[in-house]
C-alpha cells in the first residue's frame, strides 16, 4: 500500500513521513532509493540520524528488495549519504546544498533529486523549548511544495513526533503538502 503510494509521488512533492520503528523505515528507504536510482533516473540524498552512514550503506546493499550497488552510485554522484547532524548543524545551509545537488543532477543527466531526511537530529538539543522551536522554524522555512526537480521527505520516528504538542503536530501536518504514516 505505502510502496504503491510512493510510486505515485510526483516531482515537487514535500511529504512528512512518520514511521513506527527503524526496521520499517529501513525497508521503505531501501526500496524507494532503489526505485529512484534505477527506474526513475533520479539522484538520491539520504540524511540518516538513528543509524550511521555505513549502516545505511550496508542496508542498501543487503536488503533483499534493494541490493543496490552503493559504491557505483556514490562514485558517480547519484547517491549521497550524509549524517543528518552534519548536514543540518555543521555545514552551510542544507537547502543551499540541495540546490547544488539539483544542478549536479542536471549535469549528470538525471531527471531530478529525491531527499529523504530523518528529522531526529532536531530532537538532540538540550533545551526542550528551543528544540521544538527550532524544528518548527526549520520546517516553516521550507515551502509546502518544492520546485519541479525536487521531492523531499521529512521523516519522523513516531516517538519523536509524539514529543511535539498537538498544535505543533497539526501545523507540521498542514505545512507539508502530503503525509504518510508507516506502520509495521
Amino acid at each position: 500500500m505505502i510502496l504503491a503510494q510512493l510510486n505515485q509521488i510526483e516531482s515537487g512533492a514535500h511529504y512528512i513521513l512518520i514511521y513506527d520503528d527503524l526496521i520499517t523505515f529501513r525497508q521503505i528507504y531501501s526500496y524507494y532509493t532503489k526505485m529512484q536510482l534505477e527506474e526513475n533516473n533520479e539522484l538520491v540524498l539520504l540524511l540518516p540520524y538513528y543509524e550511521t552512514t555505513d549502516t545505511v550503506r550496508c542496508h542498501l546493499r543487503e536488503n533483499e528488495h534493494a541490493c543496490i550497488d552503493v559504491r557505483k552510485y556514490e562514485k558517480e554522484g547519484s547517491l549521497v549519504i550524509i549524517d543528518s547532524v552534519r548536514a543540518y548543524f555543521c555545514s552551510t545551509s542544507i537547502m543551499t546544498f540541495v540546490e547544488r545537488l539539483v544542478k549536479h543532477a542536471e549535469k549528470l543527466g538525471k531527471d531530478g533529486v529525491t531527499g529523504i531526511a530523518d528529522m531526529g537530529a532536531f530532537f538532540q538539543f538540550n533545551n526542550v523549548k528551543n528544540k521544538k522551536a527550532s524544528i518548527m522554524e526549520y520546517e516553516n522555512s521550507l515551502p509546502s511544495k518544492f520546485y519541479s526537480k525536487l521531492k523531499g521527505f521529512c521523516c519522523y520516528d513516531q516517538k519523536d513526533f509524539d514529543r511535539l504538542t498537538e498544535y505543533q503536530k497539526k501545523r507540521l501536518l498542514d505545512h507539508h503538502g502530503k503525509g504518510l504514516v508507516i506502520n509495521k
Binding site: L22, Y49, Y50, T52, T55, D83, V85, R86, F89, C90, G120, F123, Q124, F125, N126, D157, Q158, K159, D160, D162, R163
Partner: protein, 137 residues
C-alpha cells in the same frame, strides 16, 4: 541467584547491541539489566535505583536522547556513574554543547570490542565485584 545487589543498566534502542553487551558483561560476572525502550528503563530505574551503580546508555534514541535520559537518571540518583555510547563522531560542536549540560563519567565508541567493554566498565565499577560463580568439580 545474584550474589551482589549492585547492577549495571544498559539502554540501547538496538536490541542486538543491548543483548550483546548484556551477555558479555554477564559472562564476566556482572549483574546486568538491558532495555531497548528508554522510557521503560526510566520507569524501572525510579523503582529500583538503589540496585544500580552504573548506567550505560546510547545517545541517539527516538523519544528521548541519551543526554536527556542521563539527566533524568541523575535527578533520581545524582551520584550514579554514567557511560554514554555512540557509533557517531563525538568531536562536533553540537555534541560539545550538549555535553556541557550533562556530566558523564566516560564514553564508549561503538563498535566496541569485548576487551575494551570489560575494561571500561571495570574502570567505573569500584563498588561492584563480579560474581564468582561456583563451578562443578
Amino acid at each position: 541467584m545474584a550474589l551482589n545487589n549492585e547492577s549495571i543498566m544498559i539502554v540501547d534502542d538496538e536490541i542486538d547491541i543491548a543483548t550483546f553487551m548484556k551477555l558479555s558483561l554477564q559472562k564476566w560476572g556482572f549483574n546486568v539489566d538491558s532495555f531497548t525502550d528508554p522510557f521503560l528503563a526510566l520507569e524501572h530505574f525510579h523503582l529500583n535505583s538503589k540496585d544500580y551503580t552504573i548506567v550505560i546508555s546510547d545517545i541517539r534514541m527516538p523519544g528521548i536522547n541519551g543526554f536527556e535520559f542521563v539527566r533524568k537518571i541523575r535527578e533520581v540518583k545524582p551520584k550514579i556513574k554514567v557511560l554514554l555510547m555512540t557509533a557517531f563522531d563525538i568531536n562536533t560542536t553540537v555534541f560539545s554543547e550538549e555535553l556541557l549540560a550533562t556530566k558523564v563519567n566516560g564514553f564508549i565508541q561503538k563498535p566496541i570490542s569485548l576487551k575494551i567493554l570489560n575494561s571500561e566498565v571495570k574502570k567505573h565499577t569500584n563498588g561492584i565485584k563480579p560474581i564468582t560463580r561456583l563451578t562443578k568439580n
